[in-house]
């Protein structure tokens, strides 16, 4: 029996297992960075971790603030530019990349641009960033969905998954054969894509989650693997690593922000400063 873990820790650790030793990995911010740091420390010491800003082969020592964070490491091996980072991916030198999801359809196509009408949006999301390029050309893409949603039809088609399913992606001739999303990780479970139809199915369910909780989020009749497994609880070594590397990630953004502000206020008080109360008066 391992020690108790937070849901965020479970997600990070599940994500990290998608990285194999010797792979070239493009890390996104947040969960994937911590996953990358964990993988490099525990399972994949020869992996080359990269950021699209052109920071190549680094060992994260603290969590990244963004994808150009050279403060997160003590040096790195190669400084290139964004253009080359993408053409490097285009040429097949990136094995795995990680992308966050705003909306996703059953074939793993993504929207990270807007909710509602594009020209009159209800929510304006960040946009493509590197997403559309990376999922096009990385050998495989790992998707993470925390605040996003499953939809029948995307409000905006930002990044290509398996298009209309089946062999549509390969047949289009636009992408390397066999590329595309390999997994979608959510707070409820792990989804993978059927070899033939490319429709997503539930492959793993997280401990304590009921199947109906998963189905509730999904507007179509979700397929479930006949070999559905429960996500393995993390080991002590994995939990310890994540908690020491990124305790704020372990806690989750909301709790961490609250505690951080409380700490800053206490410090200001102790030094006789007014902190934020000064602004209010």
């Amino acid at each position: 029996m391992s020690k108790p873990y937070t849901l965020n820790e479970l997600l990070i650790i599940t994500c990290a297992k998608e990285i194999e030793d010797y792979q070239n990995v493009i890390l996104g911010v947040g969960l994937p960075t911590t996953a990358g740091a964990l993988a490099k420390a525990l399972y994949a010491p020869h992996a080359t971790l990269m950021m699209e800003s052109g920071i190549i082969d680094f060992q994260p020592l603290v969590p990244l603030h963004h994808i150009a964070d050279a403060h997160s490491c003590r040096g790195f091996s190669y400084a290139t530019d964004l253009f080359t980072a993408f053409t490097m991916t285009y040429r097949g030198f990136v094995d795995v990349c990680f992308l966050g999801v705003g909306q996703i359809d059953k074939f793993g196509n993504l929207n990270t641009t807007c909710i509602g009408d594009y020209f009159n949006p209800q929510l304006r999301l960040p946009g493509s960033g590197g997403a559309a390029d990376f999922i096009s050309y990385a050998k495989k893409t790992v998707l993470t969905l925390r605040g996003g949603q499953f939809v029948e039809k995307l409000d905006y088609f930002t990044s290509p998954g398996y298009l209309d399913g089946g062999d549509a992606r390969d047949r289009s001739g636009l992408f390397p054969k066999g590329s595309g999303p390999s997994m979608l990780l959510t707070t409820k479970g792990v989804f993978r894509f059927d070899d033939l139809t490319k429709e997503m199915y539930l492959s793993q369910i997280h401990p304590g989650v009921r199947l109906e909780d998963v189905r509730k989020q999904i507007p179509w009749e979700l397929k479930v693997s006949p070999q559905l497994t429960v996500t393995a609880p993390p080991t002590d070594a994995e939990i310890d690593f994540v908690r020491r590397f990124a305790p704020a990630e372990s806690l989750g953004r909301e709790a961490a922000t609250e505690l951080a502000i409380a700490h800053a206020m206490q410090r200001a008080d102790a030094r006789g400063k007014n902190g934020m109360t000064g602004q209010r008066n």
Partner: protein, 349 residues
């Protein structure tokens, strides 16, 4: 395709035996200075044949390979003449003998082919002035595919293009590398990085192999990342008689000595027998040099240090925990954070 982050250090003999094959498209990565002389010599010793050789600018390196009979086809922009009007050198002799096919480009157009290859494009637009010249009109073994003209989709203007180059193997000499293959080079950048990065396999020779942390503290000097490199060979004086910035100057005497021999086939053969085939490796070559001319000749060429100012790659901290064991952001110890997790019901058994 590149190898993983393992130790790739080996001898020139092993690197050439494993990664340079008969019939390869071979590219010399260096341009005008610091050429990979010892890798070139080793390829000659191993008797490789039928290369399509790419070189931005043919100097001693190209002539030695052509003298050795390794090259069927040459793609270049510039060919060194060894003896003025007297005898041009190996390339001229091979052209006269009909044993070498040549494709001539401009420096820019040649380099553009490498850039396209490096970035995975199938072709690239280039500067169109050459359309008025025989560079455009006279086609060698590439025929129609030497240059093609297309309309620009935005302006309708005629645009000159060249096809991407993706040679099978690049040989390149740099100042230093780590054992994984991160290759660091400074000075005249030429087309060195593009030549390496457009190639399928890469052999790096270097003046010295350094610890990985030296590379990590100077990543902007790295021109080839480890994951692209197949072999790393440490060869001090590996570019002699050409020069390596920070290590040694050009050996003008010896370069002239080579050029003198290179004016006729017989003399060139004698030079090759003595300096390439007669020396099993670079150490033997240097021993031979010292025995013929004395070590003082080389000592005079050694660079005096002129170090670049160090750049600061430091951050405020490299751990989220401060010196008292408290998280910098939350002001809490690990035990206190775990307690907060429990209080908030975040922990799962």
């Amino acid at each position: 395709m590149a190898q993983p982050n393992d130790n790739k250090v080996m001898s020139a003999k092993e690197a050439v035996a494993r990664f340079v094959h008969d019939g390869d498209a071979l590219i010399i990565g260096n341009y005008t200075v610091g050429t990979c002389a010892e890798l070139v010599f080793e390829i000659c010793r191993q008797g490789r044949k039928h290369f399509t050789l790419y070189s931005q600018s043919g100097i001693l390196d190209v002539d030695v390979l052509v003298n050795a009979g390794c090259v069927d086809r040459l793609v270049t922009t510039y060919v060194m003449r060894s003896g003025g009007k007297k005898g041009g050198g190996a390339v001229e002799r091979a052209l006269q003998a009909g044993s070498l096919e040549l494709e001539d480009y401009t420096n820019f157009n040649y380099n553009a082919r490498l850039m396209a290859g490096m970035h995975g494009f199938t072709f690239i637009p280039v500067l169109e002035g050459v359309m008025a010249t025989d560079l455009f009109r006279k086609r060698g073994f590439m025929g129609e595919d030497k240059y093609r003209v297309i309309p620009c989709p935005y302006t309708g203007k005629q645009v000159l293009t060249v096809p991407a180059a993706n040679p099978d193997v690049c040989i390149v000499h740099v100042q230093r590398a780590d054992r994984f293959g991160n290759a660091q080079y400074w000075g005249a950048m030429g087309s060195v990085a593009a030549a390496a990065l457009c190639s399928k396999r890469i052999i790096v020779s270097c003046e010295e192999i350094v610890e990985h942390d030296v590379v990590q503290s100077s990543p902007h000097l790295t021109i080839i990342p480890a994951f692209r490199v197949d072999a790393v060979v440490q060869i001090p004086w590996g570019a002699h008689p050409t020069e390596v910035l920070g290590y040694y100057n050009q050996d003008s005497f010896f370069y002239g000595f080579f050029r003198q021999f290179n004016t006729t086939a017989d003399a060139a053969k004698a030079w090759m027998d003595e300096w390439v085939y007669g020396c099993p490796d670079r150490e033997a070559y240097l021993d031979h040099y010292a025995s013929r001319f004395g070590t003082g000749m080389l000592d005079k060429l050694r660079a005096k240090a002129f170090y670049s100012a160090p750049a600061n790659y430091g951050a405020a901290f490299t751990s989220v925990w401060d010196e008292t064991g408290r998280n910098r952001l939350l002001g809490l110890t690990l035990a206190e954070i775990e307690q907060k997790m429990a209080e908030r019901g975040l922990l799962n058994e």
